[in-house]
């Protein structure tokens, strides 16, 4: 505990201002800054090696001993058991990039870490944190302005599928699935294109579902233009394949009705007992009949069936699926154009969903089964069905595909792109350092620091790809200036070209812009904190 947190009166007695002051620790001034920067740097340095197509993975062990392997920044950070306040901010930073854009979660953290690292050196030189923050802000404006200048148009329609695939491949390049690189990219693009509303430039992710099933090869992963549900028919002898299915989607159980109001039914005599018995059988009969009358030949139900009801359904040749989860029910409803019906009485023919074919898939030697609903009325709902050797690869494939989907979606939303592989960062860095010379105040230093921080992304890329980082980056920088070509970046895959347009390494403008903005915002926020109080040593422990 530093002495600064205690005040003394004129007789030298300690003067307590805060409750339990002696139990609280306080950091302030430059020390607080240093400690924050230290924490942020630690987080950033963990993620640094995951950047780029040759980035390495991290293995996370959860508190229950479950193992996850990933190189997705947001995933790694969310699974790190972080306690430090500033480190938590970094975690949130990558999360907000993930929510907003869905890609570049590693890059944003590395960028923020680099900005803070540069800030530390400026603090050592005695520059006031607020001036640094201001300088960063100015630099960010310049950088983003420059991004707008160097961005390219990426016209989008169905004929440009090829270019979209190449973009998706860039995103997937850094993930473990890059063995089936092209296939996954195609899946991502096709999935987005089939649900995208090109008029409104909108993509509804709700319509894309990802299902994973352990076993098989990654190559067996496929895009199902329909819905896959992890359920099987409620009775083992129901047909496994239904053509021209008319689907009744129910959220009421095939069970005797349960009034919501509290009630008691007293059986006082033999008559009552018999009446109840009759009522019960009638009720089941009626339910099945109501469904059958509408012409449905498949029942999807959110709840369970009574054994007797289940058998009745089989007898009346009405295949049924039970315990289908809420989101899946909705998806089925969207896909088949059916209505979710909460009561048997309200079921009518026009509320049924339609699908060309419903079939059951079986896998391997285990008894797992899944239902596939294809050729739906509304073809827009799609399911990506992932197969892989183990659960971890499936999870990782899901995350990678999600990233790829996000990138494609962003391209659908916004046509402007910049080039990846560090090309945009280097271009921005050049622009910022040029602009810095024109500033006459202290902020000039902060801006130069910002330019240096921008270099850290290509540096990390080069380092991860096994190249000499400083030499490579310096070379590209000079080439960008002499050739006036902002598309030059790090050749991570050793393809022999530095032109990112040839390598099809592109990122969306919105993603890059969000990266810079979020990183700068966080840095500014951290720089503005100069005092931190925490009740040290949790007393309860």
């Amino acid at each position: 505990m530093s002495m600064g947190s205690l005040a003394f009166d004129e007789f030298g007695r300690p003067f307590l201002i805060l409750k339990d002051q002696d139990k609280k620790s306080r950091l302030h001034g430059i020390e607080a800054h240093k400690s924050h920067i230290m924490a942020a740097k630690t987080v950033a340095s963990t993620l640094r090696t995951s950047l780029g197509p040759k980035g390495l993975d991290k293995m996370m062990v959860s508190s229950d001993g479950e193992v996850t392997i990933s190189n997705d920044g947001a995933t790694i950070l969310s699974m790190m058991d972080v306690d430090h306040q500033i480190a938590k901010l970094m975690v949130q930073l990558s999360k907000s990039q993930d929510d907003e854009i869905g890609d570049g979660t590693t890059g944003v953290v590395v960028m923020a870490g680099a900005l803070l690292e540069q800030a530390e050196q400026l603090l050592d030189r005695g520059i006031h944190p607020i001036r640094i923050a201001d300088g960063y802000e100015m630099a960010a404006q310049v950088a983003i302005g420059h991004l707008d200048k160097i961005c390219d148009q990426f016209p989008l329609d169905q004929s440009h599928r090829e270019r979209l695939i190449e973009t998706a491949m860039t995103t997937l390049g850094s993930k473990i699935v890059n063995r089936c690189h092209r296939q996954f990219a195609e899946i991502a693009v096709d999935a987005v294109l089939s649900v995208a509303d090109l008029e409104r430039k909108d993509v509804d992710f709700e319509l894309i579902k990802m299902e994973g099933k352990v076993g098989g090869k990654l190559e067996d992963t496929m895009l199902v233009k329909g819905v896959v549900i992890d359920k099987d028919m409620s009775h083992p002898q129901m047909p496994k394949r239904i053509k021209d299915a008319k689907i009744a989607i129910l959220t009421c159980p095939f069970e005797p009705p349960k009034p919501k109001t509290k009630h008691k039914l007293d059986v006082t005599s033999v008559d009552d007992y018999k009446k109840l018995r009759v009522y019960e059988t009638e009720k089941f009969d009626e339910m099945v009949k109501q469904v059958k009358d509408t012409g449905a030949n498949l029942v999807i139900c959110q709840w369970g069936f009574d054994d007797e009801a289940n058998h009745l359904l089989l007898q009346r040749q009405l295949p049924a699926v039970r315990w289908v989860g809420g989101p899946e029910i909705e998806l089925i409803a969207i896909a088949t154009g059916g209505r979710i019906v909460p009561r048997f009485q309200e079921l009518t023919t026009d509320k049924l969903g339609k699908a060309g074919i419903v079939r059951e898939l079986t896998f391997g030697t285990t008894k797992d089964r899944m239902l596939v609903i294809e050729e739906c009325h509304n073809s827009r709902a799609v399911t990506i069905f992932i197969r892989a050797g183990n659960r971890m690869i499936i999870e990782e494939a899901k995350r990678s595909l999600h990233d790829a989907l996000c990138v494609v979606r962003n391209l659908v939303k916004d046509h402007r792109i910049v080039y990846g592989g560090g090309a945009a960062e280097i271009a921005m860095s050049l622009a910022v350092s040029q602009e810095a010379e024109k500033i006459s105040t202290l902020e000039q230093y902060a801006m130069r620091a910002f330019a240096d921080a921008l270099d850290s992304v290509p540096l990390a890329l080069a380092e991860n790809s096994g190249q000499a980082p400083i030499q490579t980056v310096a070379e590209i920088k000079s080439r960008q200036v002499t050739e006036k070509n902002p598309r030059l970046g790090i050749d991570c895959m050793n393809k022999g070209s530095n032109d990112m347009r040839e390598q099809h390494v592109i990122e969306t403008l919105s993603s890059k812009r969000a990266q810079i903005m979020l990183a700068v915002q966080l840095t500014k926020m951290i720089l503005k904190i100069d005092d931190i109080r925490s009740s040290s040593e949790n007393v309860s422990l």
Binding site: K58, V67, I69, D83, V270, A388
Partner: protein, 532 residues
């Protein structure tokens, strides 16, 4: 100065291991797992005793990689990946669980050397990927397809079964069991649904007394006073409560004001049951099998009607019965004309060893069969079942994908040579990784030879030379300790299994290799176990 103090960004108890340390710890963990199961590989592999931690200390003796790995609790995350891989292999193809673990571990050992030579993990990974593609190509080229010729195909299946069983406890009677397994699988007529094959273990006798029974055996008893033998049986399979049939309308309860009324109600209940039994009998069945209990009263009613009633057949039993007899599982009994009854020619009680079983013969689905395993101890029976299961799985896979490859280290050597060849032509650091891959593949025959107690270096180099000369059907003969032509020995393996081993192992090794950082969350605090 506060800033000089270490800043913990993790919660207390959480740890992070970085680059070299992380890699080290995952290599060590994975290699330890590989070494653990290594000695069980091959026809002369050793078994392990697994002693469970609970208080009755049950013992398992096994040679099955997946079973061993499932039983040991591992803490190392990389080791967990290997355990996972073997589990998947078990689920998907049923065999090769040891090979996949050992191959992954050998790959990681090679990776360790390469990393020590300052090769970037990503370079190794890309080299491996090329190696896997090449190895797959070589494997596919060497694969034979006898699917079109039934006689030859049966011979293939027998060979595969013998090869699979040769590494297990059943090796002494492998011909007998290979026959059993092939017969059972061929009965399925290609649909590969192992559900129709039932394995029943009965203590006593010797392994050679194990038999394949046509039809279906149920480990249940027939009700008292009911016929013990029914010919031309019409079976009603049901899932319904035959105790007191409850009223299911929510919130109902019995409230009476006099004892006499209870008696009346009881009577009504009894009548309801009687009605139900009456309805069931009206279906024209002479055998009634229920998933749930049958109480004394209905049992007596069935006995009176001369119907055989079997209670409490578990869920799987009921489903399997429905499958093999072609009946449907019934829960309501109001429409007898709509219900499909199951059929079989004869139901009788048979006694095997000391156990009474119910045997259904001449079932509608001619594909069903039951394998009765006999053995001296429970451990032998369990292990025999696992071995047989492996063999059945592999055979079922082979029936679907009829291509076969040669075993006895032959395919591994073939792939290794193909990969080496490619490595020679590849400039750059990836070639080193490919050579490592080839070495790892060659380790499999080495381990097989080691386990059998032969001079592995001598044998494997002989084998390599033979392959180089173009005699690429040469493999290890572990009975005589020399290299020989595996076509003569009949050591055959399923292409599907081999390919899966190769792919899964490479995938797992790659996954572990790509990790450069291990972040462990603080273990969840658990209330101490009081020990029951």
């Amino acid at each position: 100065m506060v800033s000089m103090q270490p800043i913990g960004i993790y919660k207390p108890g959480a740890e992070e291991e970085k680059s070299e340390t992380a890699r080290m710890s995952s290599f060590v963990g994975a290699i330890a797992i590989g070494d653990l199961v290594k000695t069980t590989l091959g026809p002369k592999g050793m078994d392990k005793i697994l002693q469970s931690g609970n208080k009755n200390n049950t013992i398992q003796v096994t040679n099955d990689g997946a079973t061993i790995l499932k039983a040991i609790g591992v803490d190392n995350p990389a080791a967990k990946i290997l355990v996972d891989i073997s589990k998947v292999q078990d689920d998907e193809v049923g065999d090769g669980t040891t090979s996949v673990t050992v191959l992954a571990c050998e790959l990681l050992k090679e990776a360790e050397h390469l990393i020590a030579q300052r090769l970037h993990p990503q370079t190794i990974v890309s080299g491996w990927r090329k190696a896997v593609t090449e190895a797959r190509r070589a494997l596919e080229e060497s694969a034979k397809d006898n699917g079109a010729n039934p006689d030859k195909f049966r011979e293939d299946l027998m060979n595969i079964a013998r090869t699979t069983l040769s590494s297990k406890i059943l090796t002494a009677n492998k011909d007998h069991f290979a026959n059993l397994a092939v017969d059972a699988v061929l009965r399925l007529k290609g649909h590969g649904d192992l559900q129709a094959i039932q394995v029943i273990k009965i203590l006593g006798g010797s392994l050679l007394d194990s038999t394949l029974d046509e039809g279906f055996l149920l480990e249940k008893k027939i009700g008292v006073n009911q016929p013990k033998r029914v010919e031309n049986a019409k079976i009603l399979i049901a899932n319904t409560s035959m105790d007191a049939d409850k009223i299911k309308v929510f919130g109902s309860r019995v409230r009476v004001d006099a004892i006499s009324k209870i008696a009346e109600l009881e009577l009504a209940e009894k009548e309801k049951m009687k009605d139900k039994v009456g309805k069931i009998i009206k279906h024209g069945c002479n055998v009634f099998i229920n998933r749930q209990l049958i109480y004394n009263y209905p049992e007596q009613l069935f006995a009176d009607a001369g119907v055989m009633a079997i209670e409490h057949a578990d869920f799987e039993g009921v489903e399997r019965l429905a499958l093999v007899t072609g009946g449907e599982i019934v829960s309501t009994f109001d429409n007898p004309e709509l219900v499909k009854l199951g059929h079989c020619d004869l139901i009788e009680e048979v006694i095997i060893g000391e156990d009474k079983l119910i045997k259904f013969s001449g079932v509608a689905l001619g594909e069903a069969c039951t394998i009765v395993l006999r053995g001296a101890t429970q451990q032998i029976l369990d292990e025999a079942e696992r071995s047989l299961h492996d063999a059945l799985c592999v055979l079922a896979q082979t029936v679907k994908e009829t291509r076969t490859v040669y075993g006895g280290g032959c395919s591994e050597m073939l792939m290794a040579n193909a990969v080496s060849e490619l490595a020679m032509k590849t400039p750059g650091k990836e070639a080193l990784a490919m050579e490592g891959f080839a070495r790892a593949l060659r380790m499999l025959p080495t381990i097989i030879a080691d386990n059998a107690g032969y001079d592995s270096s001598q044998l494997v180099t002989e084998l390599r030379a033979a392959h180089k000369e173009g005699r690429n059907t040469t493999g290890l003969d572990m009975n005589r300790g020399e290299i020989a032509d595996v076509t003569v020995l009949g050591i055959t393996e399923s292409y599907q299994v081999k390919r899966q081993v190769l792919i899964s192992a490479a995938e797992a090794a790659e996954m572990i290799l790509r990790v450069d950082d291990i972040i462990k969350a603080a273990p969840r605090q658990r209330a101490p176990d009081h020990g029951h």
